[in-house]
């Protein structure tokens, strides 16, 4: 008896945001066992039958639908999505989010003296003051939304402050010469402490990966961001997307999907510490510690990674290597001392980092010396600008 031909299933999710290849689980409707995993928009081949299709959205919401698949035919299913408040991609506000969707209905203008900002750019030579293009798009009583556009070379950091609190420093995953040129920075003081969140409306794929990581949905993050090598090959490269995809694959243990492209990321984008962090971690997990220590020290020499997960990996490897015997690293054995020196610099930042966020964020009045500057902000300090004057 010839078995019946399989059917095909195509899943759509209508979301308010831009399209990203949303991963879905296809579950047998009777046994409730996973049949296969796929992505929205692709045709998934399955035997005829009833299926539960489940998707975890970047916001953390789950959407579930039922599909009847007929042999030899294409069945389409549209998953409905509740338009819940979306979390901010790069962290802050937690999984439930304090993102733009939660904005107070009755907005009043930000009063002068509420929020202050200044920017720095991190290059090989350390931090320098920066003056990026900033457009204040939505000021209200307790929050201000700003579109920040990259200018110049290096990694841009925003420092946000309000009187009486230790300023918050946030790395912005934007860089002029790449596809990632602008981000939305939301500064708000509705909670007990000042918060500054980053989202990337112009880079939906990176935004989705960040949201998945923020919510702990690693499989989905790896699925959406896993074709990071293609992001590097694109005409307008997206090194931040590639880096975040790389972190997701590392975390999920999918080293076979990295196939050494992080080395390209590290070599082609020498201003980005994250590429070297990922290349180093990949080498370490493969047991090539001689190569790993080279990349790890290179990463730390470039400065602070853009993503908090990168700093965590970097610090962990530096700590491990700084006390290891030189003989473990072959021709790079001398780097053990260097690893110890670099670790001291990282440790001066690490205790002040909020690892609950995707984008690197830490508190400190002096951006390159948080350990020595856990002091409240006082208006009138050099370089700070009132948000109402931007």
């Amino acid at each position: 008896v010839t078995p019946p031909p399989p059917g095909r299933l195509k899943v759509h999710i209508e979301t308010a945001g831009p399209y990203v290849p949303q991963p879905v689980n296809v579950i047998n409707g009777d046994s409730l066992q996973l049949v296969t995993a796929g992505t929205c928009g692709e045709e998934i081949e399955v035997p005829a039958g009833t299926y539960v299709v489940s998707a975890t959205l970047p916001s953390g919401e789950r959407s579930v639908g039922i599909a009847e698949v007929t042999a030899g035919k294409l069945s389409e299913l549209s998953l409905e999505v509740e338009q819940a408040a979306a979390p901010t991609a790069m962290g802050g506000g937690g999984i439930e989010g304090l993102g733009p969707a939660d904005a107070p209905a009755a907005a009043t203008s930000v009063s002068p003296g509420t929020f202050f900002l200044r920017f720095h750019v991190q290059t090989y030579d350390g931090f320098q003051p920066a003056d990026p293009e900033v457009a204040v798009t939505s000021p209200s009583g307790d929050r201000a939304e700003l579109t920040v556009s990259a200018s110049g070379n290096g990694i841009l950091f925003a420092q946000a402050a309000r009187p009486g609190e230790v300023p918050l420093n946030v790395a912005l995953p934007i860089y002029g010469p790449t596809i990632s040129q602008a981000c939305l920075l939301t500064v708000e003081g509705t909670g007990t402490v000042l918060d500054a969140n980053v989202s990337l409306p112009d880079n939906p794929r990176l935004d989705a990966v960040a949201r998945f990581l923020q919510g702990g949905h690693l499989q989905e993050a790896a699925s959406v961001g896993g074709d990071a090598e293609h992001l590097l090959e694109a005409k307008m490269a997206d090194p931040f997307g590639a880096a975040l995809g790389g972190y997701a694959l590392l975390r999920a243990g999918q080293l076979d999907r990295l196939h050494h492209w992080p080395r390209n990321l590290a070599d082609r984008f020498s201003w980005l510490p994250d590429g070297a962090v990922i290349a180093g971690e990949e080498a370490a997990l493969e047991g090539d510690h001689a190569l790993a220590i080279l990349y790890v020290c290179e990463a730390a020499g470039r400065g602070l990674p853009v993503f908090g997960g990168g700093l965590s990996l970097l610090a962990s490897r530096l700590r491990e290597y700084s006390v290891a015997p030189k003989s473990a690293f072959g021709e790079h054995g001398e780097l053990v001392t260097e690893a110890g020196r670099l670790l001291k610099g990282i440790l001066a930042v690490m205790p002040f980092v909020d690892f609950d966020r995707v984008s690197l964020a830490y508190r400190g009045a002096t951006i390159d010396d948080p350990a020595g500057s856990q002091t409240p902000f006082v208006a009138g300090t050099e370089g700070w600008r009132d948000v109402t004057e931007l």
Binding site: G29, G216, R251, L285, L311, A348, M350, P351, V353, A371
Partner: protein, 395 residues
């Protein structure tokens, strides 16, 4: 040291099993009750005695004993080190007199326990290794797991000699025959960040030699740093982290959204990654506190705990439009056996039940007939972590 639990393959030898090391330290020999400086001026970071870590560790150990299920590596040993505070001895019945096998969480005892745990874990690559540590802690990074202070913290000038360096232990847990599935739960009351900046010059905690060889398949770290040292919840509840962890392990909160091929339901590396931090945050909010949990390490998705039965799913049924609730009567049967779950139920305005994960058929009858509402039959799929089904009774 004598394990608190030794059974199954660990007692008989040979087959893979789970080896757990559980440490909870609430009593500190050299700390004052209120965090005031120690009389002899030793460095104590302003820390005081705490009320929950030993309770938390004991709760987790008991859960391992009574509920942990991993058919590929059944529970073999649990080594337990407890230093309960006076508060816990007075308020938590089981900790008034801890089990005789539960030695105090001093450096010497913990080093011995770590060494023995290491030796047992490396007997079979298919073993599972579990480390749970709770106490005051120096928070480093999610990939290091931090440093947990032990009962004799600050005994010497090198104060961190009296600590457990979870990151250094984890890095040492490698090798060809080492347990390839490792889970680390670090539940720490946060030490001021200044200590973390200087931690390298403050001594060396309990660790393992790092051979820089191989890597385990899974080496997951679940880390919580509690900003407060006070107990949140009733005495005996333990920290928010352990409350959240046990909820994720015992209810549908941490269960994957589908069954395995053998029909079982599991809590996995990655379901905990998403569920645990979320639940910690929710519980903290209930107490008006803020707490976050982070995860790190290698997080390949493997089962951690297999539920004994189908998970109980909170199911909420509602009809649309809600003006139909006054004339709608519902019946629910479980498929495929068509076992009746309930009949004659009314929406007020929803029907809420806890049901085993599964496929159900919901019949809504409009009685008396009330146009434009119509009778409807709909499938309800109760999948973890919860199910909300809206049935439309009007075009």
């Amino acid at each position: 040291m004598t394990p608190w639990i030794k059974r199954g393959p660990a007692a008989g030898g040979g087959a893979p099993c789970t080896h757990a090391l559980v440490i909870g330290c609430s009593k500190y020999q050299f700390l004052t009750e209120d965090g005031s400086p120690a009389p002899d001026g030793r460095e104590t970071f302003g820390l005081s005695q705490v009320k929950t870590p030993a309770t938390s560790a004991f709760r987790f150990a008991r859960w391992l004993d009574s509920s942990y299920r991993n058919p590929s590596a059944p529970l073999g040993t649990v080594r337990l080190l407890l230093s309960p505070s006076d508060f816990e001895r007075d308020n938590v019945p089981e900790l008034e007199q801890p089990p005789p096998e539960a030695l105090p969480a001093t450096r010497a005892n913990v080093q011995k326990a770590v060494d023995e745990w290491f030796q047992e874990c490396k007997t079979n690559a298919d073993n599972v290794a579990i480390l749970y540590a709770s106490g005051h802690g120096v928070e480093l990074s999610p990939d290091d797991g931090g440093i947990v202070l032990l009962e004799d913290f600050a005994e010497h000038l090198a104060v961190l000699d009296g600590s457990l360096d979870v990151g250094a232990v984890r890095k040492g847990m490698s090798g060809a025959t080492m347990a390839q599935r490792q889970f680390y739960f670090v539940d720490a009351c946060r030490v001021r960040p200044e200590a973390a900046v200087r931690f390298q010059s403050l001594g060396s905690g309990v660790s393992l030699p790092n051979p820089l060889s191989g890597r385990p398949r899974v080496s997951a770290i679940y880390f919580a740093a509690t900003p407060s040292t006070t107990a949140l919840g009733a005495p005996g509840d333990g920290t928010l982290f352990v409350q959240a962890l046990l909820e994720c392990l015992d209810t549908s909160l941490g269960v994957d959204d589908h069954a395995l091929e053998d029909g079982t339901w599991v809590v996995t590396t990655l379901t905990l990654v998403s569920a645990l931090p979320k639940r910690v945050k929710e519980l903290a909010a209930q107490f008006g506190a803020e707490q976050s949990a982070t995860t790190g390490g290698q997080l390949e998705d493997v089962p951690f705990h297999v539920l004994p039965d189908r998970p109980q799913i909170p199911v909420t049924l509602q009809i649309a439009p809600d003006t139909a609730t006054a004339c709608a009567v519902a019946e629910l049967v479980e498929l495929p056996a068509r076992l009746q779950v309930f009949a004659g139920a009314t929406f007020a305005p929803t029907i809420s039940r806890e049901l085993p994960a599964g496929k159900y058929l919901l019949s809504v009858k409009i009685h008396p007939p009330t146009p434009p509402f119509t009778d409807v039959v709909d499938v309800v799929l109760a999948l973890p972590p919860r199910c909300t089904s809206v049935v439309k009774v009007a075009p």
